[in-house]
């Protein structure tokens, strides 16, 4: 009896506690998905789910879903074409949202590569457009996933889509590798504040198309179609061997930004090499960075078009143009881009009304090889200064200005292009494409290679003009890869960043001269709040170390961003000094260069909303992801009491209490 009383008191106490304190929100949960899993399993490490959709159903804001390695072959979509050859079916629809402080994470399990292969969605039910990963939700964080095999099954449409954003905001896509899709690897249609960080999109081709083989498979498409779809940014991404363009911003209602990214082999048939050369596709546009333009100048052009930002990018060996204004009506910002050996390196053909024009705000750009510029002489607002071709800079560009301009494709590919096909150049191949398609650094940033980096003594160094972004030396260099480290004494860490105006990114870190090595640089003092960010390039490696640096993306949160110090590595040869890191929506001057061999760490601003704290870290760290914004989550649901027949429950309670009493008595 005593035991019963004690138990009863405990129950009552529990009930009172439950009444006194609102139910706590569910704690963050980790879910697991594996190709060998089951959707009727528990979603644990030991009993993983089988599909993304199942995991989404289980996940709540703040949860993390880990995808284990292997091939996730999709053979069905969430809907059917309904008899229409132009309808759209979706394989994965991410419609559940996280919150500003609690994103839903869909991540590759550490050290593993999950491959989502959509090439099995065939048959008459799916004879229309395909969207492999449609993103409708917000505050989602996708990381480390491989997307491939998106199909076209008829020729009634322009393209299908690999990753297709049709409404999500404040999402982050990091290290997503989208390839061998019959349409763009990434296509943003609607949404704002989406960040694409260190993503790759390659070997995509719309072979079954209504407008010519290859004309619609861009690496990355940014085409926000609603007023207010601001803040979309691509940083540290690569696009290669896509049948259309690397980046395409056509028909955008709001501005997009692409920075610190590379594009090559646009306009060629993926995985096809003939006589040591890529195979041209007649319909593939073949531009590296296409900044703007509208499909129909008579009806589609907004009255006050957005100004895209294209800065610190490298574009090379694209069939048509390296950097292209694409009949845009306004001066898109082109800062510090390197364009090499494209059909034309910089083509600023604009269109105002129905009149060919020249447009573009160009500063500190570098062109080399083949035809440097085109369409700069038409009437129009083009503003062109401090670029390598401008006489005012007084420079002459030659191969000697670069550490390397050697570039060649692979001798052959293991297979011709096919949806879901085989990657031609493996990450371990540091020879083909000058290594530009090789493995990223440990923190996900782009590999550091000599290709197109300025050589010591180049007269392109410090020949640019200050455009409000960090640089090393007396003035910014020309091109995408800033030079200017001086080897020698131990590096001193960066200083605390200071907040300022909306940032558009930091400048590239500087490549070090192979020189005398320094010792470890001290990390910079962290600043205070900023929006989410992830680390930029790890700099300061031995040899020709280059500091990466990254710009911030706009956020609505943070104030002072953080400077990050370079953490140099000691070595026989000098590293490079780090440069400022981008803030998260605020400019900063943090992370000033060390005088020695500091590497650089670059936090890139995330798409934070709300105040947040972030402290940059020296070296190659990833920036803090802290990002808070007060938003009320789902309230705890208490529901109506009763309503059911709880005879069984009563019976169980009695059974339980009896059992307890028996155990107590037995002691």
């Amino acid at each position: 009896m005593t035991t019963i009383r004690r138990t009863t008191r405990t129950t009552i106490a529990s009930a009172l506690l439950a009444l006194l304190f609102p139910l706590a929100a569910s704690a963050a949960t980790t879910w697991y998905v594996a190709p060998t899993g089951s959707d009727t399993a528990a979603g644990t490490m030991a009993a993983p789910f089988a599909t993304w959709g199942r995991a989404q159903t289980a996940a709540a804001a703040g949860d993390t879903v880990y995808f284990r390695a292997g091939r996730y072959l999709y053979t069905t979509a969430t809907n059917t074409c309904g008899g229409s050859t132009t309808a759209t079916v979706d394989a994965v629809v991410l419609s559940k949202s996280g919150t500003s402080g609690n994103m839903i994470n869909y991540w590759a399990y550490p050290g593993e590569t999950p491959v989502f292969d959509f090439s099995g969605i065939t048959g008459s039910n799916y004879n229309c457009r395909h969207s492999s990963v449609r993103v409708e939700g917000s505050y989602l964080y996708l990381k480390g996933l491989e997307i491939t095999g998106t199909l076209q099954l008829n020729t009634d449409n322009h393209e299908s889509w690999g990753v297709y954003i049709t409404g999500g905001n404040n999402n982050k896509f990091e290290l997503i590798n989208s390839h061998h899709n019959m349409g763009p690897g990434f296509f943003l249609q609607t949404g704002g504040n989406n960040t694409f960080l260190n993503c790759d999109s390659h070997e995509n081709e719309d072979t079954m198309t209504s407008n010519g083989d290859g004309q619609s498979a861009d690496g990355f498409g940014c085409h926000p179609n609603k007023a207010g779809n601001t803040g979309n940014i691509f940083h540290g991404c690569r696009a290669w061997w896509n049948s259309d363009d690397g980046w395409d911003f056509i028909n955008a209602t709001e501005a997009c930004t692409v920075e610190y990214s590379w594009a090559w082999y646009g306009g060629y048939k993926p995985d096809a090499i003939s006589g040591g050369n890529p195979v041209s596709l007649a319909a593939g546009n073949g531009n590296g960075f296409k900044g703007g333009g509208y499909g129909d100048p008579a009806t589609n052009v907004p009255a006050n078009p957005p100004i895209h930002v294209v800065q610190y990018n490298a574009s090379f060996y694209n069939k048509a143009n390296g950097v292209y204004a694409n009949h845009g009506p306004v001066n898109v910002i082109f800062y510090n881009n390197t364009s090499y050996n494209n059909g034309v390196d910089f083509d600023m053909l604009g269109l105002i009304g129905t009149t060919d024009s020249s447009v573009g705000l160009l500063r500190n750009n570098l062109a080399f090889g083949k035809t440097l510029t085109s369409d700069f002489g038409n009437p129009g607002p083009i503003d062109d200064k401090f670029n390598s071709w401008d006489s005012s800079t007084g420079v002459t560009v030659s191969a000697a200005d670069f550490q390397s301009v050697s570039f060649s494709p692979p001798a052959s590919c293991p297979a011709a292009y096919s949806a879901g096909g085989t990657v031609c150049v493996l990450p371990t191949d540091t020879t083909s494409f000058a290594g530009m398609a090789s493995a990223r650094q440990a923190d996900g940033s782009l590999p550091v290679l000599p290709f197109l980096h300025l050589a010591a003594g180049s007269d392109l160094i410090d020949k640019g003009t200050d455009v409000g972004l960090p640089f090393v030396g007396k003035a910014p260099d020309l091109g995408a890869f800033e030079y200017g480290a001086t080897g020698g004494s131990p590096g001193t860490g960066g200083t605390t960043g200071t907040g300022g105006t909306p940032a558009t990114g930091g400048t590239t870190g500087t490549g070090g001269t192979p020189a005398t090595g320094g010792t470890t640089g001290a990390a910079g003092k962290g600043g205070t709040s900023g929006a989410s960010g992830t680390g930029g390039a790890k700099g300061g490696t031995s040899g020709t170390g280059t500091g990466g640096a990254s710009g911030g993306t706009s956020g609505t949160g943070g104030t002072t961003a953080t400077g990050t110090g370079g953490s140099g590595t000691s070595g026989a040869s000098g590293g490079s000094s780090g440069t400022g890191t981008g803030g998260s929506g605020v400019s900063e001057t943090g992370g000033t260069s060390g005088t020695g061999t500091g590497g650089s760490s670059a936090g890139t601003g995330g798409n934070g909303a709300g105040g947040s704290s972030e402290t940059g870290t020296g070296g190659s760290g990833t920036g803090g992801a802290a990002e808070t914004d007060s938003s009320s989550g789902c309230s705890c649901q208490t529901g109506p009491a009763g309503g059911g027949n709880f005879a069984g429950f009563t019976l169980l309670s009695l059974l339980g209490l009896t059992a307890l009493r028996s155990r107590k008595r037995a002691r």
Binding site: S14, A18, A24, S26, G43, T57, A58, A60, A61, D63, N79, V93, K96, G167, N169, G192, K226, A227, G228, N229, T230, G231, E254, A255, A303, N304, P305, V330, N331, I333, G353, T354, L361, G380, P381, G468, T501, P502, G555, T556, G557, V586, A609, G610, S630, S631, S632, C634, S635, Q637, P640, G643, G644, F646, A647, G648, L651, L652, G656, A659
Partner: protein
């Protein structure tokens, strides 16, 4: 000549020179740093005061596509137009908080002549109205986006203005858009599994009751009689307790895939869920009971319902949800599912 007048004059001249095409957007756009320092003091401050977002009691958004109204109800928000249902409090709060950051930085035109061109007329604009009680604290017409920022007009002052929409202190237009579905609360349940003391499932296959007593799950089963009524509950020990934990993980943050607007409860099989699907009741410490009635399969009735998902409704709630097949499967499960 004021800066705004200069801009307008330039625009007119350019337009004349280019065949009448409006070239407001063709002038060079200032870089962000220039934008940030170009705020004329004469422009009205229109933002909510800092901290005022929490006091907003109603938000109305009217656009050509949709007219929605959200009103505060206790700690949460209710959608009161075009339908009455629970609103996504997270989304509403985030939008309202953004109203604290509104900042006009430029007047592009002093009159009304550009309203139509830039979608600032009442029939084209997104009209944002926020209320604090009976006081209108935000009243703003948003038109097209532009290289100068978000174009807006005010109800009580002529002119076209630009609103900062970049950087950390800007208007985030994407927070105010979205279809009706996006403004609705999709969360059905939100509880901590450790708060659960009992689970009961009733469906045509019988009844199963689990009770957690002193950290241990116990169960009874009830088989249906030939007349369809449930028989006597009997103790049952042949179940796997981890299955109950899995069920609770599925239900702790249960969310709708879509909503069954236009579908009746009868069509959805909600009222007779014990026969057409199943009923699941989750008992929490303190006596609260969460009840979900799971009805018929919802295939082909909504764009977003997952194949083989089912209709569902909470007891006491009028909203009809489409839920995914996996959580629905627990409600229609038989004892073998838990073995």
């Amino acid at each position: 000549m004021r800066a705004a007048h200069k801009i307008l004059a330039s625009a007119v001249l350019l337009a004349l020179g280019a065949g009448g095409v409006c070239l407001l957007g063709a002038r060079q756009t200032p870089i962000p740093a220039e934008r940030a320092s170009a705020t004329p003091a004469a422009l009205p401050a229109i933002a909510l005061g800092k901290g005022e977002a929490a006091r907003v009691s109603k938000l109305e958004l009217t656009s050509p596509d949709l007219e929605v109204r959200m009103e505060k109800r206790g700690a949460g928000w209710e959608l009161t137009a075009p339908i009455v249902t629970e609103a996504s409090s997270a989304k509403v709060v985030q939008a309202i908080q953004n109203l604290e950051t509104l900042h006009l930085w430029k007047q592009l035109d002093p009159g009304t002549s550009y309203y139509d061109q830039y979608d600032l007329t009442a029939d084209k604009a997104l009209h944002i109205v926020a209320w604090k009680g009976a006081d209108k604290v935000i009243d703003l017409f948003c038109g097209k986006g532009s290289s100068d920022g978000q174009l807006v007009r005010l109800p009580d002052r002529e002119g076209m203005f630009a609103l900062i929409n970049w950087g950390p202190q800007g208007y985030a237009g994407f927070l105010f858009t979205g279809d009706l579905r996006s403004w609705r609360e999709t969360s059905i349940f939100n509880f901590a599994p450790e708060e659960v003391v009992g689970v009961e499932i009733t469906n045509p296959k019988g009844g199963i009751t689990f009770a957690k007593i002193d950290g241990r799950w116990l169960a009874t089963r009830t088989k249906p009689k030939p007349d369809g009524q449930l028989g006597r509950a009997t103790p049952w020990s042949g179940f796997d307790a981890t299955k109950i934990e899995t069920l609770l993980r599925d239900y702790r943050a249960l969310a709708a895939e879509d909503f069954g607007d236009g579908v009746t409860r009868a069509e959805a099989g909600i009222d007779e869920a014990e026969r057409s699907g199943g009923v699941i009741r989750i008992r929490l410490k303190g006596g609260a009971v969460l009840t979900l009635r799971v009805g018929k399969v919802a295939n082909n009735r909504t764009r977003w319902a997952i194949k083989d998902g089912r209709w569902a409704a909470k007891d006491g709630g009028g909203t009809l949800y489409a839920i995914a097949p996996w959580p629905a499967a627990w409600a229609i499960a038989d004892a073998h599912t838990f073995e």
